[in-house]
Symmetry: C2
Subunit: 255 residues, 2 copies
């Protein structure tokens, strides 16, 4: 049987704690390549680098892994890993383990999810894994979930345009109230800009904001997490608003 | 009647030709603010800037417009325009006119569309307009379409989670074979990396690729454009793969 090729990536960067946990979580499941941004690339959305050349550096993390750092986005990493770095095309892409949730409207800003999306665009089954806390680095349960889901995806496959977006609360396994299939929620951030003046008397702005919870349905990502459940959302990228097609066709579209 | 507030933005940057055409296209329809990236931000996906402060500079384009340049992404521009720059929240966001199509899988990489998406996230009706050519700057028909659709959206409104993604071929009005409501296609790029060696003997990579046309259905974005039609796709950001929810629930999800 041919060895499974596993690509591990993230958006927090190749030196982040989460990618080391993820690399260890999939140990023994196949040939593992780690290719990730050399620096943190959060909130980059589904960016790719077209105006600058990409460079790849070898990275050895002490007591950790050997991998490749790329001066690009998570999506760049998946492209260049599959086409230039790995000996064969990956059989699965796993992205994470992100510190902080990737749920609701935030899914579209997420570098973690965009790496998995890039895998899906290349028809490679892909999983994004996030720990829903910035401050409680309780990775052990998320590691176990990640490993199990890699095995499940290798067993079942995924629809060719679909990835799994997995969010794990920062809890111990025995505190978990369930592992549930969810829908992407609609919660948004209430944003503000913090306006400041620099030492040279010029204005600058920091984006800040807090999440508003708009969802109440049980089967929605953020709601599941709030209940100490693991949330697994199948995600696809046909953005067509099918429900509105017909009404839009009735408009006077001709100028 | 209160004046309509119109936000004009783009991803090619505030000095690009397309945004000047778009600004002129909506002349007289309301109070127009132009807020756009100070430099080109193509293929940035739905990125936002959280690790760096944003700065805003006043820009006056000779014979053109007065506007604001932002050292951020198109999504940043919409956020900061609505929250810090404009006197009132915009009634409509118009993004473009992009040089190059934003169709099929490319929609998820598109800065032009991400600006409109940011408007939608703020519940502001939004339109992304692209001219489907890099080399034929035939803006006059695209301008007419943009102005007409701004009027139509102001008249009808849009569903609160939906934007219009408009792609106009580089043709004269009399060559147009129709203005059609379409679905997002599935065409992908066949990518390659061009590997080179710099003068210091280090390797670097350029991303290159050509679009493969996978779609044949008449009602798909790229197919409409190839037929010299204007393509209007309603886009929304609930990425849940509803068709796969049930099957996924039958998996053994518990490790």
């Amino acid at each position: 049987m041919e060895t499974i090729a596993i690509l591990v990536t993230n958006d927090d960067g190749i030196y982040a704690p989460g990618i080391l946990h993820l690399r260890e979580a999939v140990e023994g499941l196949g040939d593992i390549s780690v290719v990730a941004p050399i620096t943190e690339k959060s909130a980059v959305g589904h960016a790719i680098t077209v105006s600058d050349p990409l460079r790849v550096v070898e990275v050895e993390r002490n007591g950790g892994f050997f991998g490749y750092g790329v001066n690009g986005t998570p999506a760049d990493c998946v492209k260049i890993a599959a086409r230039c770095i790995m000996d064969k095309r990956p059989d699965i892409v796993v992205s994470g383990i992100n510190m902080g949730s990737n749920t609701a409207t935030n899914v579209i800003y997420s570098g973690t999810v965009s790496a998995a999306a890039e895998g899906t665009i290349m028809y490679i089954p892909s999983i994004a894994v996030s720990l829903t806390s910035y401050t409680r680095p309780e990775f052990s349960f998320a590691r176990k979930i990640a490993r199990h889901l890699v095995n499940q995806v290798l067993k079942h496959g995924l629809p060719k345009d679909t990835l799994l977006n997995v969010n794990v609360p920062p809890i111990r396994e025995e505190e978990c109230k369930g592992i549930v299939v969810t829908k992407q929620g609609k919660a948004r951030y209430e944003e503000q800009f913090d306006m400041r003046t620099d030492p040279h008397n010029r204005t600058y702005y920091w984006l800040t904001g807090k999440k508003m919870t708009l969802d109440s349905a049980e089967d929605v990502d953020d709601v599941a997490i709030a209940q100490n459940k693991v949330s697994i959302t199948p995600i696809q990228y046909d953005l067509t608003d099918y429900a509105f097609l017909k009404e839009l066709s009735t408009w006077n579209l001709k100028p």
